[in-house]
Amino acid sequence: MSSDPSILRVLGRALPARAAMGRAMSETWDQDEAASFIETLFAKHHSEIHVYLLRMVRDPELAADLTQDAFVKAYRNYDTLEKPENARAWLYQIAHRVALDEIRRRKIIRFLPWTGESRGAAPSAEHTVMDMRLSADLQRALDKIPERQRAALLLAELHDLTGLELAAALGVSHVAARALLTRARESLRQALAAERAADASADRGPRTDARVGQDR
């Protein structure tokens, strides 16, 4: 069994019904056509898919592996892509499923920083401390909210998916996707507030100076 029915199923629900019944029912499909199509998709979208997976699993090696998996799955399920214009949401859906499977399998979430090497010119020391604390709080807060909520927030805020694309990527209805996003915003608010409260109490305590270093 090399296809993942759940991907296809949700896709079928979230994206418009397939017009190409004839192609779907035929026993074969053109593998060369599929391979070249996936190559085009890869060229266009692999960076954003990779960044999304990296944001979800926060491990560069693993994110690269998962990106590869996602494109192989896309190739395998090429015939489930209804319209080329839906390809991006379709890819995100596959990547999302790959990420959730991985997260649930391993419960990974490593504490790798979101920021760091890719920062440009060194800003003032004060700025760095502020940024690092903010980003560490955000990172921990994101870790604490359920993974589907995290995915919804990342996709909506950082990957510019439209409402319909988001629904397709998450494999739920448009209404459910919006509700998930609403819950996610509230969860993030609470989680961030908790992180800041923890910071504040740590600042009052004796460990003030050690905080930043420990944030990793």
């Binding site: 391979a35 690269a64 990106t67 494109f71 395998r76 979101w114 890719s118 955000l138 909210i145 609403t182």
Partner: protein, 586 residues
Amino acid sequence: MNVFGLRKRQAEDWASPHERARARAVQRMDGPLGATEAAWLDGHLAECKACRRRAAEYQENRDLLRTLREVNPSPPRDLWARTAAAIEVESRRGRRGPVRGVPIGALSGVLVIAVVLGATLLSNTPTPVIAPEANAPASFPPAAATASLAPGPVGTPLAVAAGDVRAVWGDADGNLAVRNLRVESVCSKKSDADCPTVEDRSATDVALTARPQTIISSPDHKQAVIVSKPDESNANEVIVFTLPTESTPVETPEPSPEPPGTPEVSEPPSTESAAPETPATSAEPSDSPVPSGTPTESVEPSSEPASPTPLETDPPDATPTPEAIAIASGLIVVGQTEAYSADGKWFAFTARPADSDLGPDIYLWRVGTQEAAPVTRDHRSVFASWDGERIVGSRPSADGPAVEGVIFMIDPRTGEETELGVGWRPIVAPDGSQALVFDGSVAATDGGRHIAPAEGTLELRDWDPDTGTASSRGDAVIDVAGSMFDARWAENGIAFAVWVQDVADPSFGRLSLYFVDPDTGELDQPENAPREEPALPGFSIGQGRLAWATPSGQGGEGSRVQIVAWTKDGVGSAETAPGDQVVVIR
């Protein structure tokens, strides 16, 4: 599921204007509100500093989140080379095995099956029906009955061979009665004025001191377990009582294993009399595929609920006050997980003590004994379902708002426990080949006292009792989000229903019905099958029908029992008149 409820909420439904303002403020982050709500929100924010601060907080968090856009690490340079190689391997494998790669895809399978099933279930659905009245002759020859008669758009009743539905009704004085509802015909359109109201076949008063919250019938329909409504200390009582003996629905023909295929009989819309006519087939079990379309008895509409039809035997020894014993008390029964084992020897449920901080355990009652006892001791276990004679349960792997669930099995005779794998609350099908499994995270909060799904989807998966469910592959059934759910199979394993509690108003939820193709395992929701219908907790499914109590209506109207029944020709529904304190016996 919307965190703020899927029902359109009226202004007065909100606990406070602040709650409403905060909900709207966060919703507005992802799309415009309606003009009225938007104007109301702006007005409120102008007045209320705390809500304004909250709205600003959502916006600040969005800005903070968007700072992550600056971080865009590049993928490894060789990523395409690796991916292309993997695709190459994949494609060679696909060429060797004829259909091994299966890119023809589950989706195409879905569509094909949907077409086939749709054709089976709805083959007789009239293509745009002309002159509906012509479909409703005053009498109908059997030939017409086997021809193309179907749930037409005008509510031509569809005769069904569904099993009786039983429910407990309360009256204004607090007296309870068990009623048997005979479902003989259903209509394709709900709330069709011409569709006859479902009447009782019989009713028996029962003397119960406790108000029932949930009632579960034993497989032989001779006794039932009642979970009472919580008392002042929030505790439920679990009571076993003997069902009135006349209510055994033995005379119902066995529905066939396909979405039941008893040939249907069209009945005229009952314009003059609300009494459903009784085809002879429903009084005598018969394998004959050709029902006599000749009505033999016509039941007079009666205001007396306790009037069995002349066709029924009324046992003289029917006792009006059945025996009732409490098998557990001082417990808070959790969720809607209670169930008898298929052989009727055991009854399991989930509960936690009302007087302590301990979390839930699985309780087991050996039928015939005096008391239920816990079979788990970790205070974080939830009963899921029976797999044959074994208890299937799950527990969170840790404490936290989003942790993993672990599935295990317990042999009720020895108490021996076997851990199976990751997942939450598998509802195993009657034949043990499939299960509905919640795939997602579980919230175990408040020191384990509160355990509930956090985020995830209910999936249909193959069930393997040796390993638990197979991997994460499955068909997504429904997004249950962070809500309590109740899912149960019909006895033949071709249909199941899922109830998902409303987030905003936990007193009710939404119920959907699904069919599983017995040959391919594909899911289907045919036309007229309920989808997210408002329902009180505790539905009943089996014998070709699904029954539930609707939430009380507007204007003080009570609950109704809503029944959906199916034949091979379609799905239709019918309902009773409204009543008080209606609990469907499941």
